[in-house]
C-alpha cells in the first residue's frame, strides 16, 4: 500500500513536469552562463584590478603607453588584413570556378578535408616543408601559414553564395548589353558581396586572434596579438592580459558591426 502511494506520488510529479520547448534551452543557458558570461565578467573585473586587488586604471595605461604591445597589435592587424586580402584574391576565383562546375561540390569537400586535421599538425607539416626547402622563417612564412589555415573559411561562404545566385541575373546583364567581363563585374560580383563579407569576417577575426601559428612558423620572431595575450596570462599578468582581451573583443565587435551594416538590405546571411 505504502509503496503504491510512493510510486503514485512520483508518477504525478513526473506527470506535472511539462516538457515545454523552453526546457530544452536550459542546458545551453547554463553552459553559456558558466563558460561565456562568467569568464567575460572575470575579464572585465580583472582589467580594473591591480596586483593587490584594488581598483585601478593602470592596466589600460600600461598597455596604451607600451610601444611593444602597440606594435604587436599593429602587426596583428597588418597580418590579418594581408591574410584576408590574399584569401579573397585566391579564394574568389576558386569559389567562382567551382560553382560553375557540376562536380564542384566534391572539390569543395576536398578543400574542407584538411580542416579535419588539427591545425597544429598542419602547421608543423608546413614548417617541415619550409625547413626542407631552406626557406627563412619570418613574417612571410607566417602569412603563408595563415592563408593556408584560413582559406577554406573564405572559399566556403563564397562558394555557397555564388552557386545560389540565380543565373537569370547574369542573363539579364547579358541581355542588357554586357559582355562576359562586364556581366561578372556588374552582376555576379555585386551579388556575391554577402559571401565576401562573411568570408572576410571568418578569416580576419581568427587571424588576428590566432596564436601558436605565428610562433611556430617564425621561430618566435613574429608575435601576434593572440600570442601576446597568451604570454601575459602565462606570466600571471592578469590585469594587462584582460585589457588586451577586451581590446581584441572590441575589434571583433566593431568589425561585425560594419560587416552587418554593409550587408544591410541583402539577402539574409547564411552561416557559411
Amino acid at each position: 500500500m505504502k509503496a503504491k502511494e510512493f510510486f503514485g506520488k512520483g508518477i504525478s510529479k513526473i506527470k506535472n513536469f511539462r516538457l515545454t520547448r523552453r526546457v530544452f534551452a536550459y542546458p545551453y543557458v547554463l553552459f553559456m552562463l558558466a563558460f561565456v558570461v562568467a569568464p567575460l565578467i572575470i575579464l572585465l573585473v580583472n582589467a580594473f584590478l591591480d596586483t593587490e586587488g584594488g581598483f585601478t586604471f593602470d592596466n589600460f595605461k600600461s598597455f596604451f603607453t607600451d610601444d611593444v604591445s602597440l606594435r604587436v597589435l599593429g602587426m596583428s592587424l597588418a597580418v590579418g588584413v594581408i591574410t584576408t586580402v590574399l584569401c579573397l584574391v585566391i579564394g574568389y576565383p576558386v569559389a567562382y570556378i567551382l560553382s560553375k562546375w557540376s562536380s564542384g561540390s566534391i572539390i569543395v569537400l576536398l578543400i574542407i578535408l584538411p580542416m579535419w586535421v588539427n591545425f597544429l599538425i598542419r602547421t608543423y607539416a608546413l614548417k617541415s616543408i619550409f625547413d626542407s626547402l631552406d626557406v627563412t622563417l619570418g613574417i612571410g612564412t607566417v602569412i603563408v601559414g595563415m592563408v593556408y589555415n584560413f582559406i577554406p573559411y573564405m572559399i566556403m561562404p563564397l562558394h555557397t553564395t555564388i552557386s545560389n545566385i540565380d543565373p537569370s541575373y547574369a542573363e539579364a546583364a547579358k541581355d542588357l548589353g554586357c559582355n562576359s567581363v562586364q556581366t561578372f563585374l556588374r552582376s555576379t560580383l555585386p551579388l556575391s558581396i554577402p559571401g565576401i563579407l562573411s568570408g572576410v569576417t571568418m578569416v580576419f577575426i581568427p587571424t588576428i586572434s590566432a596564436f601558436a601559428i605565428s610562433g611556430m612558423l617564425s621561430n618566435n620572431t613574429v608575435l601576434m596579438f593572440g600570442d601576446s595575450i597568451n604570454l601575459r596570462f602565462t606570466h600571471q599578468l592578469y590585469g594587462t592580459g584582460s585589457v588586451m582581451s577586451l581590446i581584441m573583443l572590441a575589434f571583433v565587435l566593431i568589425l561585425n558591426f560594419f560587416m552587418n551594416r554593409a550587408n544591410k538590405g541583402e539577402a539574409p546571411r547564411n552561416v557559411w
Binding site: Y169, A172, L176, G177, R186, P190
Partner: protein, 503 residues
C-alpha cells in the same frame, strides 16, 4: 562580322536604312536537343515587324527554349535564326537588338529602381558623329557612351511610361509584384529594342493584376509599335493579347494563326483541346459535306476528304443548341446528366445514346435527367484529319514469333525469321496501358490524354521517343510512367522490302 561589335552595330544601322524588311525574325529549321531529347524540333516561322506574337503551349512544349534562342541564351543544335535577314544564330546576347522581360523579373537586388532601368543604357554606345579611319582605310563612325543627362532623361521617361515616376530611389525588394513587373518592362524598353521578348511575365501576378497588366502591355505595344514576342501557357491571355498565336506542343509547331482562327479553326485535335473547351470525337467522312459520328450521318461544310476517311470532329460547347425533344430541327436526342451555373452561362453535360458525352454551354437551364434535342450548324462542325490512324513501326523480327518494338520483345503470330525487316501495325484500341511499368513489355510516359466523348485518346511515348496512340477507357495522368502491352494476335506484321526485291 560578329567578332567586331562596333562594326556590327554600324552595319546594322546601314541595313536598317537600306532594307527595312517586313519580316524581322525568321527561324529556319531550328532544333534544340538536350541529352538526346529534342526540346525544340525543326521549328520554322517568320515574325513580322510590329507584330504581337504569342508562343502558346503546355509546359515543356519548347516555347521558352525557342524564345531563349531568339534572345541568344541558347544556341540551336541545328538551324538558323535570322534577324532582319541576317544570320544571328551564333551572335552573343549582348549584341542582339532584343531585350527580355524575365519570368521572375531578374531585377538586380543590389541596385535601386533607377539604376536597374539605367543598367542597359550605361552599357550602350551610340554614334558620336565623329569618324576615324583604320589601317586598312575603312572609315568608321566613332561611338560614345550616353551622358548622365541623357540616361537620366531616358530613365525618367521610362518610369513615367510605367507609372512609377516617384519610385526611382526605391529598393526593388520593397516593390510589389506588379510594380517589379513594370520595372522589368521599363528596364527592357528603355533600350529601345527592335523586339521585346516576354517570358511568361504575368505568371507570378494575381488574376486581377494580370488582367490589368494584359491591357497595359497591349496599350504599350500599340504605342511603341515594336515587335513583342510573348510566351505563355495561358490560352486566354494568348487569345486576348496577340496578333498571331504560335501553338506549340512537344517541341513542334501545331498552328500559326490569328486568335480568331486558332479558336474557330483549330488545326488539329490538340489545338482544339488546348484552346478553349471542346468536344472531340472520332468520326468518318462518308462523302463531301457528310460526316458520320455517333452512328448518325450529319451535314457539314467540309469537302476534299477521302471517302470513308476516319477523322476527328470538333464542336465548341457554345455551338451546340438545346432544343425541345420533339423539335423537328433536332439532329439527335440526349439525356442531361449535369447542369451547372457558370456565371454567364450554364454548363450542361449530356449523354447521347447513353454512351457519348457532350459538353454544352447554353443560356437556359435544363433539368438533370431531362430529354432534350440538339442542333449544330453545319459550319460549326470542325472536321480534322487524324494525325495518325494506326500505330506503324518499322523494325525487325527478333526471332520466329517474336518481334522487336521499341527495344522490347513482343510475341506475335508471325512465322518470319529473326532479323527480317518488318512493318508492325497496331490499332489504337489494341494497345494496353498498364499502371505498373514493369507489367508491360516496354515502358513509356503519358504525354497527352484527350477525351473523345466516350473514350480517351492517349499518347504514350516509349523510351526511344516513338509515340504510341492508344484509345482507352481511363484518363491517364500526363507525365506518368506506364507499361505497354499488346496481345500477340493484335500485332499485324508485314515483311518489309518486298517491293524492292520484286523489282
Amino acid at each position: 562580322m560578329g567578332d567586331h561589335p562596333e562594326q556590327f552595330l554600324e552595319d546594322k544601322a546601314v541595313a536598317k536604312k537600306t532594307k527595312k524588311k517586313n519580316i524581322i525574325i525568321e527561324l529556319k529549321n531550328v532544333s534544340k536537343i538536350y541529352d538526346g531529347k529534342p526540346a525544340v524540333d525543326n521549328v520554322s516561322m517568320s515574325i513580322k515587324r510590329g507584330e504581337f506574337v504569342t508562343f502558346l503551349g503546355p509546359s515543356g512544349c519548347g516555347k521558352t527554349t525557342t524564345l531563349r534562342m531568339i534572345a541568344g541564351f541558347e544556341k540551336p543544335t541545328s538551324g538558323t535564326v535570322l534577324f532582319n535577314g541576317e544570320d544571328i544564330t551564333n551572335m552573343p546576347p549582348h549584341l542582339r537588338p532584343v531585350n527580355t522581360v524575365f519570368q521572375k523579373y531578374a531585377l538586380f537586388p543590389h541596385l535601386n529602381v533607377f539604376n536597374n532601368i539605367a543598367f542597359g543604357l550605361k552599357m550602350k554606345k551610340v554614334p558620336s558623329g565623329e569618324t576615324f579611319t583604320d589601317k586598312s582605310g575603312a572609315t568608321y563612325e566613332k561611338l560614345r557612351k550616353l551622358t548622365k543627362k541623357e540616361i537620366t532623361d531616358k530613365v525618367n521617361a521610362a518610369l513615367k511610361m510605367v507609372d512609377l515616376e516617384d519610385y526611382g530611389h526605391r529598393n526593388v525588394s520593397s516593390l510589389s509584384g506588379g510594380q517589379q513587373q513594370r520595372v522589368a518592362i521599363a528596364r527592357a524598353l528603355v533600350n529601345e529594342p527592335e523586339v521585346l521578348l516576354l517570358d511568361e511575365p504575368l505568371g507570378a501576378l494575381d488574376l486581377k493584376m494580370r488582367k490589368d497588366m494584359q491591357i497595359e502591355l497591349m496599350n504599350m505595344h500599340k504605342k511603341i509599335g515594336i515587335t513583342f514576342i510573348y510566351v505563355t501557357h495561358d490560352q486566354e491571355e494568348a487569345l486576348t493579347m496577340s496578333d498571331t498565336i504560335v501553338v506549340m506542343r512537344n517541341g513542334s509547331i501545331q498552328q500559326i494563326a490569328s486568335p480568331q482562327k486558332v479558336y474557330d479553326e483549330p488545326a488539329n485535335a490538340f489545338v482544339a483541346d488546348f484552346i478553349g473547351e471542346s468536344n472531340i470525337f472520332s468520326g468518318i467522312m462518308r462523302e463531301d459535306r457528310k460526316v458520320e459520328f455517333f452512328g448518325r450521318v450529319i451535314e457539314c461544310v467540309d469537302v476534299g476528304f477521302k471517302r470513308d476517311e476516319p477523322i476527328d470532329v470538333i464542336i465548341r460547347p457554345e455551338d451546340i443548341y438545346v432544343l425541345a425533344k420533339d423539335n423537328p430541327a433536332s439532329l439527335m436526342s440526349a439525356t442531361v446528366t449535369d447542369c451547372v451555373f457558370k456565371g454567364d452561362h450554364y454548363q450542361i453535360i449530356v449523354l447521347v445514346d447513353g454512351e457519348n458525352e457532350l459538353i454544352i454551354h447554353d443560356n437556359a437551364e435544363v433539368k438533370e435527367g431531362e430529354e432534350i434535342g440538339l442542333f449544330i450548324k453545319p459550319f460549326d462542325l470542325h472536321i480534322m484529319h487524324k494525325s495518325r490512324i494506326i500505330n506503324e513501326i518499322e523494325t525487325e523480327m527478333w526471332d520466329t514469333g517474336v518481334v522487336e518494338i521499341c527495344g522490347g520483345r513482343f510475341p506475335c503470330n508471325s512465322h518470319l525469321e529473326g532479323g527480317t525487316p518488318v512493318k508492325v501495325s497496331i490499332d489504337f484500341d489494341d494497345v494496353e496501358i498498364l499502371d505498373d511499368e514493369d507489367d508491360g513489355i516496354i515502358g513509356g510516359e503519358v504525354v497527352s490524354s484527350i477525351y473523345k466523348g466516350s473514350y480517351y485518346q492517349c499518347i504514350v511515348r516509349a523510351d526511344n521517343h516513338y509515340d504510341f496512340f492508344v484509345d482507352t477507357d481511363d484518363d491517364w495522368l500526363k507525365g506518368d510512367r506506364v507499361g505497354i502491352r499488346v496481345a500477340p494476335e493484335k500485332i499485324i506484321v508485314e515483311k518489309l522490302g518486298n517491293a524492292e526485291s520484286a523489282e
